[in-house]
Amino acid sequence: MLELHGVSHLYPNGTRALDGVTLSIPRGMYGLLGPNGAGKSTLMRAIATLQTPTEGSIRFGQIDVIREPEKLRRTLGYLPQDFGVYPRVSAYDMLDHMAVLKGVASPADRKATVETLLHQVNLWSVRKKMLSGFSGGMRQRFGIAQALIGNPELIIVDEPTAGLDPEERNRFLNLLAEIGESVVVILSTHIVEDVSDLCHRMAVLTDGRVQIEGSPHELIQSTRGRIWMKVVDRGELAHVREQYEVLSTRLFAGKTVVHILSDRNPGNGFAPVDAGLQDVYFSTLAQSRRAA
């Protein structure tokens, strides 16, 4: 279990990137949703021991992450948002290099580890290709392979599907689903579908604060009966925005499908709709903007 208590981070320029984040993250896939600038990457870096938060505590099992970061690194797999190392080295050599730095001392063990991982992420056929020649999807798969070296018990994956085409995204998510059963995997993303497809529990982070936390199913249930839908002409949209709390709009066949949040039946042609995680996410963002 990963426990965060009152984690805050204030940058020297006065930006408060995290504000009292408290979470308990069990084994399995955990989604951290939030818009750009919400503090997700700062939180991921704090957990991954790249940054020391200015306040709060982080514990992973018996490890105090802030006081003993080197211990956490011995069981951590990290795939950052911007993963770019040694472009002139082949995938095989780079994985072998990482395996040494992660303490896989025996050459035979390293060979077995690297070969297994390359097969697992479907990069065996390009193992001798330079990393600079990899596509975005191949880089991400390589990234997850290096994160898995040494069978880590805590895996942090930061915005892994950004920039991937649908096929690559699907392949990547399937890979994550395989590994996310018995270890703690934190998936930090602004793509709602990634969380809804994979995660048992999730939190939404905005302006450095946790707004809601729970299982996707529980959170969707909490908005039951409060999401309403109507198809309007584009010219009507401004009027709808003035009158109601619009969560999302989507173009469909030349008209606009509007989802709004309302505790009571708004009438005016609005129909109740089964909420999805996207509605939960947008309603949380709307509420946090109002509170700010």
Partner: protein
């Protein structure tokens, strides 16, 4: 919840692996060096075939300048500061940086050895005293320059700015002292004339072997200063944690 921790990597494995990975990264640099030596072979060979000496004992080898700039190739595209991904690995940050500096040093010595062999063979063919030619390679300065260059890369976030800034200061100071000398005779005060004379004398000195004691002192001072600069630079990468 009990967490299983993997063993930390052995320091020897880390160093060997850094030598391996730095070597792989330096392949384009090796190619450039090979091309330059190839071109040099053609030029010197043509001169020898044309009846010329091929070698001029007044020539100096810019190995110190190259080794000062060599760390830029060793650390190319490596994120030295900030939340770099490699710092999530269970290797202490300062030691990993030191291992990389050492890896670069190993490849620098390999390149220098290759250069020495090339020089020896060409001088042998030209009949230009191969052993003497090889001893003209400034080994201590080359090593010291590499240490200072590494300290620059490892210790500063923006080493190129400092480098260009320092070059600019030296250039301006040189021009300023010349101007002042013309009008106010300050050049001697600034010591540049004495340095110039010393350099001329040094040119004569290096045609002979220096006195051993003087050489030992100069070597110790130069290498000591380089190691001190490197140690100070590496101190920027020590783990900082809130207790």
């Amino acid at each position: 919840m009990e967490v299983t921790l993997h063993p930390k990597p052995r320091w020897r494995d880390v160093v060997l692996e850094q030598i391996h990975i730095v070597g792989l990264s330096l392949r384009p640099v090796g190619l450039v060096i090979a091309l330059v030596l190839g071109a040099g072979t053609v030029v010197i060979g043509s001169e020898i075939l044309g009846g010329g000496p091929g070698f001029d004992s007044r020539e100096t080898f810019p190995t110190a300048l190259i080794s000062f700039l060599f760390p830029f190739a060793v650390w190319w595209r490596e994120q030295r500061f900030g939340p770099a991904f490699l710092w999530t690995l269970p290797v202490e940050r300062r030691r990993l940086a030191l291992a990389r500096v050492f890896a670069g040093f190993v490849w620098l010595m390999a390149a220098l050895a290759g250069f020495a062999v090339w020089l020896f063979v060409l001088a042998l063919i030209a009949g230009a005293g191969p052993a003497h030619q090889v001893t003209r390679i400034p080994l201590v300065e080359t090593i010291a320059a590499y240490l200072f260059g590494s300290a620059l890369l490892v210790g500063l976030r923006h080493p190129l700015r400092w480098l260009f800034g320092a070059a600019g200061v030296v250039f301006l100071t040189g021009n300023l002292s010349q101007m002042l000398e013309r009008f106010y005779g300050v050049q001697s005060l600034l010591g540049s004339r004495r340095l110039y004379d010393a350099a001329n004398d040094a040119g004569d000195v290096w045609l002979r072997l220096p006195p051993p004691a003087q050489w030992a002192i100069a070597t110790s001072l130069l290498l000591g200063a380089g190691l001190l600069a490197l140690w100070a630079a590496l101190s920027r990468h020590r783990e900082r944690r809130r207790l």
